[in-house]
Symmetry: D2
Subunit: 322 residues, 4 copies
């Protein structure tokens, strides 16, 4: 293998740049030429490809977003689109791919690998931490800290006014961000899609809290749970019309920001691991870290299997919210 290419795809996540940097520098370290593809699969089709040097990735480790930009590509979902993409890669002589992204990204890479045999190693880049085959995804730790920072700020106001806050955090169908930011933020209740929380339990939490003279509450709602914070908060409001209830959605701030140390190091390890994987003949796999060791999991498993939420953490929320 002499030439590889790197791209980012799907929703951006803090630490993607640190991973791009690690891929570029480790490729050069191992004597490969490395190309950057802009705008994900769309750019691959359109030939937005250029060689990268060590200095191309100077001073980006601390930056949120992705310097290679990301895009969703409808065209790559068609056979014609993928044929064009293959032609572009051939033009540059690219023999291997590193794809940073999530499920959609790996589905594309998997089909492309089956059709054209270009080896690809994926690196898990998504704030949702919902990927099988790795304990942590790039961007997750930063997103949790961003959510936590917001929760800390909102608690100031909740305490000062004896208010009940329903705070919605990201995570699509996964409760990872919710459970960790909830524990970290000292939330009174965390509602995640993995374990259904009936409205009755929310009401019980509030009533029990009031009986213990608790006057302010933080309730974290994962976006995929029961219609999110708006629906849950509105229902509870009907039950306690006199309570001072506020609903807030943390929104897109959770995707941005300078990555934490954890994410920069994770991204660096995965980037080096992806390149070393390609060199060692890995293909059609995602590099991940399980129990602190680099591992390679076939794309098909990453895509089809789901990562359960930690029972221990669910239990800890219950114990610590008393």
């Amino acid at each position: 293998m002499k030439k590889i290419a790197i791209f980012t795809s799907g929703g951006d996540a803090p630490g993607m740049n640190a991973c791009v940097r690690a891929v570029v520098r480790s490729a050069i370290y191992y004597g490969l030429e490395v190309y950057g593809i802009r705008h994900g699969y769309d750019g691959m089709i359109r030939g937005e490809i250029s060689q990268m040097q060590s200095y191309s990735v100077s001073n980006i480790i601390q930056k949120g977003g992705t310097i290679l930009k990301s895009a969703r590509s409808k065209e790559f979902m068609t056979k014609e689109g993928r044929a064009k993409a293959y032609d572009q890669l051939q033009k540059y002589g690219i023999e291997g791919l590193v794809a940073i992204g999530g499920n959609g990204t790996f589905t594309g890479a998997s089909i492309f690998y089956e059709e054209y045999g270009i080896p690809a190693v994926g690196a898990p880049g998504t704030i949702d931490n919902d990927l099988y085959g790795t304990d942590y995804t790039i961007g997750y730790d930063t997103a949790v800290n961003t959510a936590l920072d917001a929760i800390d700020k909102i608690r100031d106001t909740a305490d000062s006014h004896d208010r009940i806050f329903f705070i919605e955090v990201m995570g699509r169908d996964s409760g990872y961000i919710a459970i960790q930011s909830g524990i970290g933020g000292g939330a009174e209740l965390v509602m995640v899609p993995e374990t259904f929380t009936p409205i009755g339990e929310v009401i019980k939490t509030l009533e029990e809290g009031w009986s213990r003279s608790k006057s302010s509450f933080i309730i974290i709602v994962a976006e995929g749970e029961s219609g999110g914070a708006t629906e849950v908060g509105t229902t509870v409001k009907k039950h306690f019309p006199d309570a001072d209830i506020r609903i807030t959605n943390l929104g897109h701030i959770q995707r941005g920001g300078s990555p934490t140390a954890f994410d920069r190091i994770l991204a660096s390890r995965l980037g080096v691991g992806a390149v070393e994987g390609l060199i060692n003949g890995q293909q059609g796999v995602m590099v991940g870290i399980i129990n602190n060791k680099l591992t390679y999991t076939p794309f098909r498993d990453c895509i089809s299997l789901s990562k359960p939420i930690s029972d221990e953490l669910v239990r800890i929320v219950e114990i610590l919210s008393i």
Copy 2:
């Protein structure tokens, strides 16, 4: 004057604790006894009053919210309520009040002063910076920096995906937070209630930007302007159905957080100024800082007059967004 009391009222703002600390310590410094009233006017009526010492305010200067808590009081709007409040103050021998809050707070203090003659000095505590009689209100600088930090994060995502973001910031009828966070965040457009921005101008901004190869946009919308970000964003979306438009509301994080240096120092100066004002015979006034000098403005002016937004800043947005 021997005994004074301090309370916070209305929406909480970062730096209120720094101001409470300054009032307590300067009162003691000048030989006064000082009492804290919890839960604003409501607590005054219910007698939630206790003496404070120098150590009562240790280690609070960096805390968001207000340790004295805040509440809105319907009862204080009635003659009976104010009579009860007066009785409570009499019980403790309180001869002067420092009220930290905004317009509603000062209206209450003003009526109370007219009815019972208890001298009151107000300190401007609101993130909105919408008070006549001071260049800056306590909490404003922190709120702007919180909004700015969020905008910086969102720009990561906007850039990575070539997106248009409509971001709503707080400020009620005032565009102060919007204009400053917009300039600081390098926004392409800032929409404030003080100067109506027709939708046509938003459309022109986008079209001109695209013609100059700009691919991502940040548009800041003050909550009081044209229905906020949701309405503006939705209208624009109808005009450009293919554009990747996102709408986000920064929400309650803008009220919390550890105050900035600016707010801590402002709050400290105003707290000392409020106590010195009471000692020097000020009554029925708000202490403020205009052109870097302490000033005292009658409550009636603070309540009835409005503070215009800076023409210079409006012009700077236009110049720098090219």
Copy 3:
């Protein structure tokens, strides 16, 4: 077991409060009475002991330092001191201890347990991450992020002025903080006590960098390595008298600050684990997390065995600094 006590000892670390909170609340959850001992072993001797309730630990999860305070105790190193401490515990009927701290703390707890048979479970609280028996210690992730934030700031100046910075980070005899903040900060070289770095290698790094047109450098030096940043920087300065070399020691900021999400969750898990350990008959052990699972390691192993630094991380520094 009916009554247990909790204390913090040794150098403080961010997340200690989150751990105290978890111990108090999980003890109450499991029906135990829980007491807080202030000022570590010193306070145990002097009887600074009082019962804690669920609300005693409200709103502390986000605070740096330790609300129970910490102190080094010479008296506890004597037989007489420990006898006094035992008498105090007897007075309150305390049957189990949770000790948050590092090596010194556990040595004390171990001797005390052997002499008086009071079961103790330790929780690893130190920013240095140098304890055998756990992958991470409480405070480490926060310290790394604080160091990283400082390195990011210093790189602004290094880049603007084409300077070489030697930055000293904490860690005593351990290079953990150095290696992680070095990778995260994109340092050109990281010098850790675990692997001796001859000055010749520093010189080579600079010369090779200059030959590749690199004009600014960040070199991280662990405090335990070759006399620290001052000695290394001064020696290099003699070699390159015209280079613009600056030396800075990050110092005590690394011990403080609001804990990161990672540290709050780690501390919460370890606090719950410590109490559950005591209830289940653990004694003379430290609770830790290895490969994401709670484990209990005898104090004697924690004290006598050392935790090696990761070879993978050492290699990654070399690869990514090209």
Copy 4:
């Protein structure tokens, strides 16, 4: 005037990039061509000059340091050096200069203007806030907030261990950073060069504090005062050998970091003001903001006159540290 150039010189300060951006965009807005000179006067001599466009300054408003880089130039202090610089400017047809920096920068610009008649407007960029002719300099607010953040962290440790901390902050001969970060950080004492503080007063502060049961202390020492924190701390240590005294120097972190909202807006206003000044015939002046209004002060006054520290702030430290 058709063509102007912009450069940064002297120590870098957060917000310089925001000022560069404002100069470039406002110049283009007013129909001028604008050139960037890299590495200050040194780059002017060597001809490191290139035209800038609106997009050249995209996405830099939030960055610390200066994209134009800074350097000290010995050669520009010679007649020959300045002659070369003039020739370079002639080559590009540059008719006006904007110089961002401090005293040294303006001295150079002033001499150059006298010798060659090229109009120059200076913008005050230094964290020290020690320039006559403006209430605030670019970078000062950020530096104060960085120092404050560090002080907040150190107080965690000081409180947990009942320690006395002597913290040195930057400011050269000026106590501005010290006084503001001291008030904001709730310091027990602030030692600034403008008002000599005898060691006896430090000792009195500690003894009085202890008599009021205060157990931890933060004492801020400006770098220009009495030999800095090291000398003051060491002397006090001799007086109280049993006290747990720590000395720390915040160092270079104070120069870096993303600028605060205040600094970004200040820098934007001054950048626009500098260009409008040049257009309106200003020459040999520094643009500043006094009482919230743009002003132009002759270089000679900025260089020769000194800005006194605020008496009000000195008094506030005394009142609030009780």
